[in-house]
Amino acid sequence: MSQPTIERDERLDPVTFEVLKNAFTTSVDLMAEQILRTCHSFVIYARDFSSALCDRDGNTIMQGSQDIAVHVGTLHYKAQAVIAQFGEDIHEGDVFLINDPYLGGTHFNDVSVIRPIFTGGEIIAYSQSNGHWADMGGTVPGSFDVNAKEHFGEGIRIPPTRVFDRGRYLRDVARMILSNTRAPDSTEGDLQAQAEATRVCEREIHRLVGKYGKDIVLTAFEAVQDYVERLTRHRITQLPNGTWETEDHIDFDPNEGEGLVPIKIKLTIHDDHLHYDLSGSHPAVGTFLNSCFGASTSGVMAGTKTFFPDIPLNSGFYRAIEVDLGELGTVVNAPWPVAVTGYCSGPYEKIMNGIFELWSRIMPERAMAASFNLEYLLVGGRDARVADNPYFMWYDWMVGGWGARNGKDGSNCSSPVFGVGLAVQPLEGQERLAPVVTTGHHIVTDSAGPGRFRGGVGVEKGGRLTQARSAVMSYCCDRARAVTWGIDGGLPSIPHGAWLNPGTSDERFLGAVFSNVPVKEGDVFTRPSAGGGGLGDPLEREPRAVCEDVADGYVSLERARRDYGVVLRVVDADMDEYEVDQAATHAERERIGAERRGWLEEEPEGVAARYRSGELDVHDLVRQYGVIVEWGDGTLLPRTTAKFREMLARRAARHWH
């Protein structure tokens, strides 16, 4: 198992090094344990949090092994912001808060609690607990205001702020912040839980200092970062040099009307380091789907880390990866005071999936098509089931399908790539807390992008409002138009987007981003999550596999024929028994193979008209014709369609025989 060209750190003996490295991991994992057991926010409980041990300069020594991806690569910025602000004025027993995206944070809801760790009167490290608070105030419950263009009014911005002064809780400062949220008491519970978690880490570090001495521990802080950097560079060296480029899209920019919004990613591998260039990306958009440097860097780091799953996360990893976000003012490098709260559904997902695509070419053995887009649906109002009509928030996010992989289908029903530890909520709990009866929570047939390997399937969840008053609904998602795509000949899945009163005369398609849409008692809402994109030509999928998918209802009989050219005979529907009609399948595949390139060139308005008349459905438009319309009324979106067809030509048609 040993490598011939091993370099190792000579400052520490191998045992001390390995023992301390693992002890640092334990110290941050203990923080995670503590948070999980004591938090109040259901969002934190659902694992939207992270923990880190940072060195005295703020660099990350170790990040929690079960942390949410989206915080990766941002915790050192936050620690450094605290250091920059307070400098010498940091004392034992102090604790600081920060959530500022313009200083390297992600969005307002992600609040870090940072504690300096002292030994002998000197700071040796910082412990940090970062968690998503359910509400930060602002105009929209949950603080996700899609239409915000600037951050004022989105929620409370916390620059580095002292909240414990030498062990004394600064209640006035805390209340000043908490009073701006919709649930000050339980939010204070989270603040305390996080502050306690940082103390758990402090205690562990003090134990290590007691056992090994300050100098050894300080050396190990550096050595652990150097180790990860060495490991990362060693892996990169084994890859070919070269440059790879791609482009992914946000649905639209209201400043410019319809038309996909490009995010460009260029990756260069040069010997032992990676260089990412995101310049040329579109200017910041007129919704809150923008991101600042911290979050965009995080997307790059987390996307890359997916291809090096076993490398521990710390600043050593970040040192081997150079990120150029390009000019200030773009959707991936938004300046103050541009609204960025929706970064997670916007640029973040596009950066990660774009990076997956690039690495799929470099490491085909770990290839993966696009995965569904992170989505948050929020219904807030007054709960009239209870006497004093308290405020309720039905705040929900779903699983969806992940991209198809090389040699196997995508994962069904998985948490978003943005944070695979993010757990969906139990509807039985939600029904107690809000006047909403869940109408269903189930897999969506035909939601998976077809391919030789299909994407994972997505799901659908919706509800009916019962005794709700003054209720509004908001939605933070994307990819109603830039539909989750396949690679290497694979096809897209289905559009995201929420529907109000589906199947009735009041039916409305609300799109994938909206806020404060009034809803009332009796209204029914629902939305699907996309499946993953397909990988490889669907006409080459094993007919048996399609048959099995039909038996399980992942794929319908109809789409088995249209997407895969697989014709099945029903043996016994009651028993879910089907068999492949070999001859008909062969003929159908021949026909589709001969005609499909032509479909992608059919006149779009004609296709849209056939959609409006009910002759074609959404799957036909997305997968066969590459035509994107307003899904509610069928209005053609010509610029979006042109770009989408370009994308299909590149990712799908080019790879078909």
């Binding site: 198992m1 045992v15 002890a23």
Partner: protein
């Protein structure tokens, strides 16, 4: 006449039998190879090997991995699920999370029941228990007929909010029973009347898929034992650390999952208590993994959050055990950036450590132990020979040379890293619960536990290490010691100030009635049954709850709330006296006490035993001539000052230099580890 108690623990590799004669307190043991295809065969073989006449047996208790293995290998009979329309995918959606956060190619296992076998019916109950849509009986009957045609043998009925009102589930069960005579049906409101659909459904589905298999196994075994003369009830160890009878197994078969693992923890508790330690950490170290358990103030830690396979929780109380991938066979390796790592990959039994000479060519912890002389070259009374030269060679080649160390130093480095990893795991188990490991004794067992126990204790500043008489069959001892135990609960979601004592008392009484019924049906006498009420509470808005014990005659809830604050403070280092507290569940733990066996006891007479031989063993300060002792020759009162090696059939105990090892009246080895201050 019938004075024998027999305990059988079926493990992956061996089936262990422990026989205790209650009159003479004589014990005998047998270890036979397990027969995974039909575990019963090994049990009967083992009973025969131990020379037991089943006519003479009073109590036969059994820990089994059959349920756990069935869940892992998914060898189930045809099974189906019936659920509320719109919710058949709850168990496939799970909570959506993945076990491996970063590896996109690692998947969570699929649900235990395929999607095509999950059928829906129209019905709906709301959060408050109101039926907002009655069960559509016509649909229900059609579903039952379809499942009948499919030949399913067991069905899980899982309806939304059934914890609040079970009527629709019960009616569905009746219809299934009418349409498919003899079918096994598990309803979620019966198996686990608790809020949160995925957790309840998942537990119920696991119960359903296991029912035919597990109850069939229990029936067959019961019959076989009866045929050979056993007249009592077969007692089966469940995950909660108690036993249940075959009648209960049929209803709660999922409780047998985790059965085997609980046995070790129970034995650890018993052994620690025997020598007066109410706080103990159990270290059960085998070839590929180590199970760590914790006893505090005589109580085992119990968790309701566990699973056999990630994503499919089983929400029955289970002895809390942390299993880590560190064992004798764990590989030592150097990664690309020059760090010395240990595990989690293991050479297992095949190809095995290099010193086995069965194809293994990489250094393992066992090889490091052999290299240093801590492990001898003859094991199992000479039935197995280890090749020291092979061990030395791989340690030299793969660790010493790349790191520029001497071979002995390299072997020590390997063990230090392995011990530090285990120590981290112990810290996770103890410190995160607010316990200080220094206040605990370490009970080291399993084949490899006693080899590492003393070093690990030193790493953790634990002053005492206890090695049970037969470290390799300690789990069977756990099976021998258990009581009948049931855990019952009901949801009672209410803020403390809105709770009504009469209501709470009525709920408790109902649970206790049910508990007594279960005990009676298992033949436990009323006077042997003890019941403990618990209220689980949380701060309003919190997601997890903590259970506190309460007295039967509650004057008010004040004391319980106070205890909740205290416990919260201890476990989570803070409490919030000004925050509103909410009751979550009412729980009753029912214990049917079985008579505890008297284990062998010898009058201790202080003496210094004489080593039968010696060899060179490497410790921290280099090689030392070290005395070798045979465990079976050590009597109560023996005192050995390390360095020493104590060998026995199924394990080797290392006594490092300066450590005192004493043999107590129960023939336990008790090592006193000098702490930093006393050294």
């Amino acid at each position: 006449m019938s004075s024998l108690r027999v305990a059988v623990d079926v493990g992956g590799t061996f089936t262990d039998v422990l026989v205790l004669d209650e009159e003479t307190t004589a014990t005998s043991v047998a270890k036979v190879p397990s027969t995974p295809a039909d575990p019963m065969r090994a049990i009967l073989d083992g009973v025969a090997a131990a020379g037991v006449d089943l006519h003479q047996v009073k109590l036969f208790s059994h820990g089994t991995t059959i349920a756990t293995n069935a869940l892992i290998t998914r060898r189930f009979p045809p099974a189906a699920m019936v659920t509320t329309k719109g919710f058949r995918d709850v168990i496939e959606i799970r909570r959506g999370t993945r076990d491996d956060l970063w590896d996109a190619y690692k998947d969570v296992a699929p649900p235990y029941i395929r999607r095509r076998d999950r059928l829906e019916v129209s019905e709906r109950v709301d959060y408050d228990g109101d039926v907002i849509e009655p069960l559509d009986e016509e649909e229900a009957r059609a579903v039952a007929k379809r499942l009948g045609r499919r030949g399913v043998q067991t069905i899980a009925v899982c309806f939304i909010n059934s914890y609040a009102n079970s009527a629709n589930e019960r009616r569905m069960k009746e219809i299934l029973a009418e349409e498919i005579p003899g079918i096994d049906v598990s309803t979620s409101s019966d198996v686990l009347p608790e809020i949160f659909e995925h957790e309840r459904f998942s537990t119920t589905v696991a119960n359903a898929v296991l029912t035919p298999l597990v109850s069939g196994y229990v029936d067959r075994l019961g019959k076989a034992l009866a045929r050979d003369g056993y007249r009592g009830d077969l007692l089966l160890l469940h995950s909660g650390g108690g036993v249940m009878t075959p009648a209960t197994v049929r209803r709660f078969s999922v409780r047998l999952a985790g059965s085997g693992i609980a046995a070790g923890a129970i034995a650890c508790r018993h052994v620690a208590m025997l020598c007066g330690h109410r706080n103990a950490i159990g270290l059960d170290m085998g070839g590929t993994s180590t199970d760590i358990s914790l006893v505090h103030d005589g109580e085992m830690r119990v968790t309701k959050e566990w699973f056999v396979e990630y994503g499919y929780p089983i929400i029955f109380p289970s002895i809390e055990i942390l299993t880590i991938g560190a064992g004798g066979g764990s590989l030592a390796w150097i990664d690309e950036a020059g760090s010395l790592r240990n595990g989690p990959q293991s050479a297992g039994a095949d190809p095995g450590p290099a010193c086995y000479r069965t194809g293994g060519d990489s250094p393992t912890n066992t090889d490091a132990n052999v290299t240093l002389g801590r492990l001898g070259t003859e094991l199992l009374d000479g039935k197995m020979t280890l090749d020291r030269q092979s061990a030395v060679e791989v340690v030299r080649r793969d660790v010493a040379v790349p790191l520029g160390l001497e071979t002995d130093e390299a072997a020590q480095a390997v063990l230090k890293v392995a011990n530090a990893n285990m120590a981290d795991a112990v810290r996770l188990v103890s410190i995160r619960r607010g316990y200080d490991p220094r206040e605990f004794a370490l009970v080291a067992f399993g084949g490899a536990g006693p080899l590492h126990g003393a070093d690990l204790a030193r790493e953790l500043s634990i002053p005492t290490v206890i090695v049970p008489p037969n470290p390799g069959i300690t789990s069977a001892l756990g099976c021998l010691l258990v009581d009948v135990r049931h855990d019952l609960e009901t949801m009672y979601l209410r803020r403390v100030e809105n709770a009504r004592l009469d209501e709470i008392d009525a709920e408790f009484r109902a649970l206790e009635g049910e508990a007594r019924e279960r005990m009676a049906s298992e033949g436990v006498a009323e006077e042997d049954t003890s019941l403990q009420r618990r209220i689980s509470m949380r701060y309003l808005g919190q997601w997890r709850s903590l259970a506190v014990e309460v007295a039967d005659d509650l004057g008010s809830l004040d004391e319980a709330v106070e205890r909740f604050h205290e416990q919260h403070e201890r476990e989570f280092t803070y409490s919030r006296h000004d925050a509103p507290v909410e009751i979550y569940q009412l729980q009753v733990e029912a214990i049917g006490v079985t008579r505890k066996p008297n284990l062998a006891r010898e009058e201790p007479r202080w003496h210094r035993p004489v080593a039968y031989d010696s060899r060179e063993v490497v410790f921290d300060d280099g090689p030392v001539a070290t005395g070798l002792y045979r465990r079976e020759e050590l009597h109560a009162g023996a005192e050995i000052i390390g360095p020493a090696i104590i060998e026995q059939l199924d394990s080797t105990t290392v006594v490092p230099p300066g450590v005192k090892a004493e043999v107590d009246e129960h023939l336990l080895i008790i090592m006193s580890i000098p702490t930093e201050e006393t050294r």
